[in-house]
């Protein structure tokens, strides 16, 4: 199952590109506020380049992706939400609502994009199984005809 490769449409890659962009916003903002702005600018440039390349590579059609790799990738994006969720739970009462709203928006954005990517992946898995079932249906009929 985990070694499985499934076919996904280009929307999956676009969602992952958006996920990378969205996930990197908060760490890069934090980086810019504590380190020289050059680091933040270079980081933003790298992230934007990576996403643009990825989107342009899958601009027309999708491709086959590893379920294991995709799952790990999505899990990695979810781990970024640990810090903002902690801030929301433990510190919300000491800060104005705007800060909590920003943290909630950031977390919801990541979760929403991850859910959308999982939906694409799930569709790919279902189609893959359907395809396998069709092949199994075909092969016994071939053996009987032979």
């Amino acid at each position: 199952m985990m070694r499985l490769k499934v076919k996904v449409n280009r929307g999956f890659f676009h969602i992952l590109a958006a996920l990378i962009l969205w996930t990197s916003i908060a760490p890069i903002a934090a980086l810019m506020s504590t380190k020289p702005w050059v680091y933040g600018a270079l980081s933003a440039l790298f992230i934007v380049t990576a996403t643009v390349v990825m989107v342009s590579r899958h601009r027309v059609q999708g491709g086959r992706v590893s379920v294991l790799q995709s799952s790990l990738f999505l899990f990695a994006c979810l781990t970024v939400t640990i810090a903002p969720i902690t801030a929301l739970v433990a510190l919300a009462r000491y800060f104005p609502i705007q800060y909590s709203a920003l943290a909630a928006l950031y977390v919801l954005g990541i979760v929403g994009l991850v859910v959308a990517a999982i939906a694409h992946l799930r569709r790919g898995i279902i189609e893959h199984r359907r395809g396998q079932g069709a092949r199994q249906d075909i092969s016994p009929s071939r053996s009987t005809s032979a």
């Binding site: 070694r3 760490p27 781990t79 640990i82 810090a83 104005p96």
Partner: protein, 239 residues
């Protein structure tokens, strides 16, 4: 034979009856009797103690009446720009107070500023239940500028915020790793190198997230509490 038994029983009963009468009398006439008898008489007791010499209490040192340090402000209300503002008391609207350069934390929710035209007076603020809570205080008040004063805890709060941001900013590196994995086409392959790279990125992100959460809970949250305590302490212990 029966007569002998009857005689023995009668004798035993006589001895028991005799002892019932005699034993309490013997006890009453024993050790306690002389004491009780003496208690009924008059006791003449002279303690064998030397007479104490009473020395007169020295006269107290005259203490001059304690005078609290004079406040530069005549009363608990300060007139600023023709408007009265409570001094050393929390209030919610400071729109009429002209302030100089401010010192705040990163969120600008905790801070203070010198009041323009009022020497030695500062305006402090913290977040309240509905908007900011302000307070006017003396700049030289030890509870404001002392080693355990509001300014000290505000600096500590700022440092803890910097530490939190620094820690969270380090999470950017694993995000680069994710972008690199994305770019290298690792999603399409399930090779060992790609899995290891993704695992490292996950490890970095987990470490970054957990350490940031740790800094928030162990440094940032106590610093916020200290700043709030310092504000309310000044409110209660204003000269």
């Amino acid at each position: 034979m029966a007569n002998n038994q009857r005689r023995l029983r009668a004798g035993l009963a006589a001895i028991v009856a005799f002892s019932l009468v005699v034993c309490p009398l013997a006890w009453a006439g024993g050790r306690g009797a002389p004491a009780r008898a003496a208690g009924r008489g008059q006791i003449d007791f002279t303690p064998d103690v030397l007479l104490l010499q009473v020395t007169p209490t020295p006269a107290g040192i005259p203490i001059t009446p304690v005078v609290s340090p004079t406040s530069p402000f005549p009363a608990a209300v300060v007139m600023i720009g023709g408007q009265p503002f409570p001094f050393c008391e929390g209030f919610s609207d400071a729109s009429g107070i002209p302030i100089g350069p401010t010192e705040t934390d990163y969120t600008e929710q905790y801070g203070y500023a010198a009041v323009v035209g009022q020497p030695n007076m500062v305006l402090m603020w913290i977040p309240g239940a509905s908007g900011r809570l302000y307070m006017l205080a003396r700049a030289d008040d030890p509870n404001f500028s002392g080693p355990m004063g509001f300014t000290h805890y505000l600096s500590a709060l700022r440092e803890s915020e910097e530490a939190t941001q620094d820690q969270f900013g380090e999470a950017a590196l694993p995000v680069f790793g994710l972008a690199g994995i994305f770019l290298a086409g690792c999603l399409e392959s399930a090779g060992v190198g790609c899995i290891v790279a993704t695992g490292l990125a996950i490890g970095g992100l987990l470490y970054g997230g957990l350490s940031t959460a740790g800094v928030m809970l162990t440094r940032f949250l106590p610093a916020v509490m200290d700043a709030l305590d310092a504000f309310y302490f000044l409110d209660l212990h204003c000269p």
